[in-house]
């Protein structure tokens, strides 16, 4: 008797809906066992992780703050990935966007520049992110260079450029030579939505981006083109779609969104430019994009869910003294199950009995 994984004749839509639930169920079971081994009450641990953060306004705000950049970047990446263009360098585009927007904030610091500063910063951030993303895209289209490698390598270039700027020319003159710019002026800061909280305008912009992406993919020819080029390149060529042009476009859009997320993060929650403004947003967003199945609404949910595990993980450290490593194991197990269960959409398990195996002759 043997258990084999067999390709389905067509993708199962039922499983597509149920698989995230199976994944969460399996995660809950596995984590309960782990919590029990650690001597923690599994039920209260799961409540601290999943329920508590959803029950007070403060934690909800923080989930939105954490999820905003992830979702915004992931939306851009999903367009790339749908079109079969592999942008791995969103982290770099995020940093370049932050740098470009900060340039204006630093230049106007202490002047009586008006309310135009912040919108201009956001535009600069998006433009710089787009231009930066076009470098690997052009290298791919023009020279056939692997965009996976070039976009990834440009992350380090962006990181070092930011590092140079805050240690050198843009360093806060009153900052004892420490690597940071001075705090941005109020006109160069993303406004907070609720007094006393951290929820900022970026969350609203993120929702608009999600809505725009949903319309683009669901209702426009461009969206159709993106899907076709990714799913069936030959058919796309026959249909007269230009794959190269689309690579450039999706890279530019995803770079712009990553850059916008970068400048919003710097002008919002951080308040100044410094090294380490991104705890790996550009890379985590890749996970968010796939967790959300490259679908705008799915990405929104995935981003919020991932943010929930971050906030819940912190509260578990505080309330139950559960080590951070357990939170990381938790996130890892969850992703593992989600991806594993997704394979059930295209495949199914089948039991093969010994006699049939012999007669079919496969092994």
């Amino acid at each position: 008797m043997q258990l084999v994984l067999e390709k389905r004749a067509e993708r199962s839509n039922t499983i597509a809906l149920v698989s995230p639930l199976i994944a969460i169920g399996l995660t809950v079971v596995t984590m309960s066992i782990l919590f029990a081994i650690l001597g923690k009450n599994p039920v209260s641990a799961l409540i601290v992780y999943f329920i508590d953060p959803l029950t007070d306004a403060y934690s909800l705000q923080e989930i939105a703050v954490k999820a905003s950049p992830l979702v915004m970047i992931a939306i851009g990446l999903s367009l790339c990935y749908l079109a079969n263009a592999w942008n791995i360098g969103a982290e770099g585009q995020f940093l370049i966007g932050a740098v470009a927007g900060s340039w204006l904030a630093v230049k106007t610091q202490g002047t009586d520049a008006g309310l135009w500063v912040l919108p201009a910063m956001l535009l600069l951030g998006a433009a710089a992110g787009a231009l930066y993303a076009l470098i690997p895209a052009i290298c791919k289209v023009r020279f056939g260079a692997s965009e996976i490698l070039t976009s990834l390598m440009l992350v380090y270039v962006a990181d070092l450029l930011l590092d140079y700027l805050v240690r050198g020319p843009w360093r806060d003159p009153a900052g004892f030579n420490f690597p940071t710019t001075a705090e941005f002026d109020p006109v160069a800061t993303v406004p907070v939505l609720i007094e006393g909280g951290r929820l900022h305008l970026g969350a609203v912009i993120t929702l608009l981006v999600v809505a725009a992406a949903a319309v683009l993919l669901g209702r426009t020819i461009k969206g159709f083109e993106i899907r076709v080029v990714g799913a069936a390149p030959r058919a796309a060529r026959f249909g007269g779609f230009n794959a190269n042009q689309l690579t450039l476009l999706t890279f530019a859009v995803s770079g712009a969104l990553a850059g916008l997320a970068g400048i919003i993060e710097v002008a919002g929650p951080v308040g100044h430019l410094q090294p380490g403004i991104s705890p790996g947003y550009g890379f985590t967003a890749i996970i968010v994009a796939f967790l959300g199945r490259l679908n705008p609404i799915g990405i929104l949910i995935a981003g919020l869910f991932l943010a929930l595990t971050f906030i819940g993980g912190e509260q578990a450290q505080i309330a139950m003294k559960i080590p951070l490593d357990v939170t990381k194991v938790f996130q890892g197990i969850l992703l593992f199950y989600v991806l594993a269960c997704d394979s059930l959409i295209l495949y199914r398990f089948r039991l093969i009995f010994a006699s049939r195996q012999v007669s079919s002759g496969t092994g």
């Binding site: 954490k66 240690r167 004892f176 420490f178 940071t180 951290r198 993060e265 929650p269 971050f310 505080i318």
Partner: protein, 360 residues
């Protein structure tokens, strides 16, 4: 039967909530934000040791909580605020990058007291504390100059911030008292903890002719490289002798426990107030690991220097201080540089043939 059960349950509930309520009111909650994992070595581990010392000292009069591996970016403010919301009344944020987030949270919660390590911004409810590690580096410079046959020191820097720059300067000033022609080669690894890069840097420095390895980074990798090559090295933050039993000369040990205990006491007695503490060998904000792998006369010299530094008889940055371009640095602290000049140091002293990255 059922009634009795209910009564018992109610008693249990009431009793339970009553005792927990009472102890929560009595207990002072103290929170910590850590940069790295707790681990068993290095910067965060030394803070964790001090937290454990607090628990030992105060027992169940306090309750401590820490959040580890908190990045110095947008997440820090949330982590600190989470500790406040969990009822912590005294919160130690143990890395420079938490300065602005700590300040933001401090302004929001005026009734909670904050202690920020190694920064310069303070508020009514936010103190800062740090250690004069440069004193230890002066001792290390003297030892290094005595022990080096080549007269070339290899220095692994993390980031060119004033603390690290002043450490290099203090090392060289100490070394020059022994050997005026001493040379130093510096490699920046742009990280506080990166065993791979640190090991590469140590190898490169040894290949370039240095025969003593000094580090302002956290991992024991440079010590291991020096040990493999049969050279000497100095540890950092923690005792690293087990990584180089024949290599470690000494190590600067972060010892936060006395300060933490004093601050918790102040909080308990209601005498906590905003302060800027920059303690040296005298106040035991740091200590030197045993002087090992050196002749007795070098050890004696090191101990004498340490005693003189602790007594305030010796100032590493005693005027005149000449920078690498030969210009005399203004002397703003009487007979030595003022604290502000050391805290914001952005020049190399004479004898260092290198340039500060991003400087000038």
């Amino acid at each position: 039967m059922r009634k009795r059960f209910l009564a018992a349950a109610a008693a249990l509930l009431l009793g339970g909530s009553f005792t927990s309520g009472a102890s929560a009111a009595d207990k002072l909650k103290v929170g910590f934000i850590y940069l790295g994992p707790v681990g068993d070595l290095g910067w965060t581990y030394q803070h964790e040791l001090a937290r454990q010392a607090l628990v030992k000292e105060f027992g169940d009069k306090i309750e401590t909580t820490f959040l580890e591996n908190v990045p110095e970016g947008p997440d820090a403010e949330r982590a600190i605020e989470q500790l406040v919301r969990a009822g912590n009344k005294l919160i130690f944020t143990t890395s420079f990058g938490y300065m602005d987030p700590t300040l933001k949270v401090a302004k929001k919660y005026p009734n909670v007291h904050f202690e920020h390590c190694s920064g310069y911004k303070r508020d009514k409810n936010m103190s800062t504390y740090s250690a004069r590690w440069y004193q230890g580096r002066y001792i290390q410079g003297q030892i290094a100059a005595k022990m080096s046959k080549a007269g070339v020191l290899g220095y692994i820097g993390s980031f060119p911030i004033p603390e690290v720059v002043s450490g290099i300067n203090s090392t060289m000033i100490g070394a020059q008292t022994i050997n005026p022609n001493i040379k130093v080669k510096i490699i920046w690894v742009n990280s506080w903890f990166d065993p791979g890069k640190e090991a590469d840097a140590a190898k490169a420095l040894l290949d370039q002719g240095a025969d003593i390895i000094m580090q302002h980074t956290d991992s024991p990798a440079p010590m291991q490289v020096a040990s493999e090559r049969g050279k000497f090295a100095f540890g950092q933050d923690s005792e690293m002798i087990k990584f180089g039993p024949k290599a470690q000369l000494t190590s600067i040990l972060d010892t936060w426990a006395p300060y933490y205990i004093a601050r918790v006491k102040a909080e308990m007695t209601g005498t906590w107030k905003e302060e800027d503490t920059w303690g040296g060998l005298d106040s035991k904000m740091f200590a030197m690991a045993p002087y090992t792998n050196m002749p007795d006369e070098v050890k004696k010299m090191a101990e004498d220097t340490q005693a003189a530094l602790a007594a305030g008889k010796l100032q590493p940055f005693k005027c005149p201080i000449v920078d690498q371009d030969g210009k005399t640095v203004p002397c703003e602290g009487g007979d030595h540089l003022a604290d502000g000049q050391v805290l914001g140091m952005k020049f190399y002293v004479k004898g260092i043939d290198d340039k500060i990255p991003g400087g000038k």
